[in-house]
C-alpha cells in the first residue's frame, strides 16, 4: 500500500508534472515566477489549497454525488467549494496569522482561477483514487508545481542577464525556456518504472 502511495507521489511530481506535461496552472506559472521569493510563496499556497480542496471535494463526490448519481454536477460543486474555501482561507489567514498572510495569503485570490487546483480534483475522480491516494496525488501535484515554479524562477533569473533578440524579449523567450525545461522532465519517465520494478 505504501509503495503505491510513493509511486503516485513520484509520478505526479516527476513524470506527469501538472505544469510541464499536463499544462495545468500555466497562467500563474508564467505570471508569478519572476522572482524566486514570489514563486516559492505562490507554490506553498497552491500546495496548501490543493490538499484542502481535495480533502473537501472527494468526500462530497463519493458520499453526496455518486449515491444520487449526480455526476454531472461534479464541476459546478467542485469549483463552488474551491472558491468558497479559498476565500475562507484568505480571511482566516488575514485574521489569525497576518505575517503568513503577508507572504502567502496575497496569492490566494490568484489560486481560484488556477486550473491546477480544479484539475487535481477532477483527475482524482477520473483516476478512481481512494481518499488517501487522492490526498497524496494532490500533494504530489503541488510539489510538482513548486518544483517547476522554483526551477523556472532560477532559469528566468539567469535569462535576465543574457542578450536576447528584440522580438523575443519578455514572454516569448520565457516560453522557449519553459519548453526546454519541460523537455528535460521527459528524462524522468524511465525512472519510475524501473525504480519500482
Amino acid at each position: 500500500m505504501f509503495k503505491q502511495m510513493v509511486i503516485i507521489l513520484m509520478t505526479s511530481v516527476l513524470v506527469n508534472n501538472y505544469v510541464l506535461n499536463k499544462f495545468l496552472g500555466i497562467c500563474p506559472f508564467l505570471g508569478v515566477s519572476k522572482k524566486l521569493k514570489q514563486a516559492a510563496g505562490m507554490s506553498v499556497a497552491v500546495i496548501f489549497v490543493q490538499v484542502m480542496a481535495t480533502a473537501a471535494t472527494w468526500p462530497i463526490y463519493t458520499f453526496l454525488l455518486v449515491p444520487n448519481n449526480l455526476k454531472y454536477l461534479e464541476t459546478i460543486v467542485f469549483i463552488l467549494v474551491i472558491a468558497a474555501l479559498v476565500q475562507f482561507v484568505e480571511m482566516a489567514l488575514k485574521k489569525f496569522i497576518p505575517s503568513l498572510y503577508k507572504s502567502l495569503g496575497v496569492y490566494l485570490p490568484l489560486i481560484t482561477t488556477n486550473c491546477a487546483v480544479l484539475g487535481v480534483c477532477l483527475n482524482n475522480i477520473s483516476d478512481g483514487y481512494g481518499f488517501a491516494e487522492s490526498l497524496v496525488s494532490a500533494l504530489g501535484c503541488g510539489l510538482g508545481f513548486m518544483l517547476a515554479m522554483v526551477l523556472f524562477a532560477g532559469v528566468r533569473g539567469r535569462m535576465e542577464s543574457s542578450d536576447v533578440p528584440k522580438a523575443f524579449r519578455g514572454l516569448p523567450i520565457t516560453l522557449i525556456a519553459a519548453s526546454i525545461v519541460s523537455l528535460s522532465f521527459y528524462g524522468f519517465r524511465g525512472i519510475i518504472d524501473n525504480l519500482f520494478k
Binding site: N21, Y72, I76, R189
Partner: protein, 179 residues
Amino acid sequence: MKTGIKSIVVLSIICLVSSALLGGVNILTAPVIEKTTKERSEAACFEVMPEGQAFSEIPVDSNLPKGVSAIYKEKNGTGYVIKITTKGYDSDLVIMCGISRNGTVTGTKILSSNETPSIGGQCAKESYSSQYKGKTEALDGIDVISGATLTSKGYYGAVKTAFEAYKILLKQPGEGGTK
C-alpha cells in the same frame, strides 16, 4: 447585516437556478448520452469480436484484477470482451480485448490513449494489434515495438490482465465453464 443576508440569498438563488437548469437539461440529455455510449462500446465490441451477435454488460465485481473497467458478455456464449485501463507511457491507455470461448484472443483495439502519436501510436495500427489475434493465454511470440517499449509493454500487460479476468469470469457459478 443586510448585505450579509443579501449575499446568502443571492448565492443560493443563483445555485438554485443553475441546478434547476442543469437538472432539466440532464434529464433531456441523459438518455441520449446513455444511447451513444452504449452504441460506441457495442461498436467496439463488434470490432474486437467480429463473430459475436449481441453483447450485454455484466457488472465488474471486486475480485477481478484492478485494471478491468468493463466486461461485456456475448449473448450466445462465444466469449467475453474485457475493457482494461492501464498506465500507458503518458497517461492511461484504454484497451478492448475480446477473448473467445476456447481462450484465444479474437481481437484487441485501443479505445483511447493520448500517447505520443508517432511512437506510441503504432500500437493502434492494425499491424501491431493483429499479431495478438488467435494467441492463447501464453501470448508467445509477441514482439515489442522498439522505442515504444513502455506503451507496448502496457498493451501486453493489459491483454495479460484481460486473460486473468477471463479465467476468474469462467469460474463464476453462472458460467458453463470451458470445454
